[in-house]
Subunit: 191 residues, 2 copies
């Protein structure tokens, strides 16, 4: 199990002692996903948290036969049905690998155990949640302030690899528009 990336990630937030990582790794396992494989299904209760060692995933909703992509998860991100877990309600969304993907997986129950065992974990959880909060807040603000065109520009600037690694219609779903409209936006602006 290659833990370099997850060590680096957690160390961005708190100092971690080597023996704490040993504890962490006792709870962890590796999961390989093939392209297009569904990892967490709609209707599941969020039970697992993953760290993306490599690959891209998306979280999506179905409504009236259409798919809506809510989030992308890329290398270095934590992925999971957090909302379902926090609410303790079955998830309305599913999580799917868009490329071959490797995850380091820990159950939320074991994450809870770590919160109780390791004093620094609550702080990590807080700082991590605060950072996600800022990302979510920025996305909401962008829905209010920026037209789809501008949201597309920003997304591609932030995550240029999306454009090469996954079909455009997932990007359209994420922006809240139809693939045809994204195609026209790209044409209008020669992107």
């Amino acid at each position: 199990m290659n833990i370099d990336k997850i060590v680096a990630k957690i160390s961005q937030f708190i100092e971690v002692k080597p023996e704490e990582f040993d504890t962490f790794m006792q709870f962890a396992s590796v999961k390989q996903l093939k392209k297009n494989e569904i990892w967490e299904h709609e209707g599941d209760l969020g039970k697992l948290m993953g760290f993306v060692n490599n690959g891209i995933l998306r979280q999506f909703y179905l409504k009236e036969g259409n798919e809506f992509t809510d989030q992308f998860y890329c290398e270095g991100d934590f992925v999971g049905n957090f909302v379902s877990y926090v609410k303790q309600k079955p998830s309305r969304s599913a999580i799917q690998a868009l490329t071959d993907t490797e995850l380091i997986v820990v159950s939320f129950d074991n994450v809870q155990k770590m919160y109780d065992l390791m004093p620094s974990m609550d702080r990590f959880g807080r700082l991590f949640a605060e950072q996600r909060l800022v990302e979510f807040s920025d996305r909401i603000t962008s829905f209010l302030l920026d037209p789809p065109e501008e949201r597309y520009r920003q997304l591609i600037e932030e995550k240029p690899n999306l454009l090469v690694d996954i079909p455009q219609y997932y990007i359209a779903q994420y922006l809240g528009i139809r693939p045809e409209s994204l195609s026209r936006i790209r044409k209008r602006n020669k992107m």
Copy 2:
């Protein structure tokens, strides 16, 4: 200083010992705001956190002469330029009281001190941030899945008092549409 509501709020997340609340209150002060008064200005670095004892506030952005309301804060909510504080960058948004308002105010710096002094505070911060995260996530999902009409219906169901206490055009700003469009939506659906 009436601390009943804030005690109740924090107790939803963690158990607090009376002496811990004493510590908390040493850091806190009360701030009265008049209707339409700006509490935090655009360009300020987020320095203060408030707890809404009563009243309604909004956080808003200016873009090309238009105002965009990003968040409402009602009785029992924590209000502040969290994003600016976390990023340590001047805020692009302002916070304004929409009715006469009473806040219990603590500086973010003192909140940090409490994180270090009181072991349970990191957990409170984590749980609180997790809950906000779920709210934000639901709002993003709603931007993707639901037309403005449906978002309006849900907002009014959740916070019916908004409709009586503040002008409709703030609600339109929050939904991401123009006041004229909200007026037409209400007419179409006899709301």
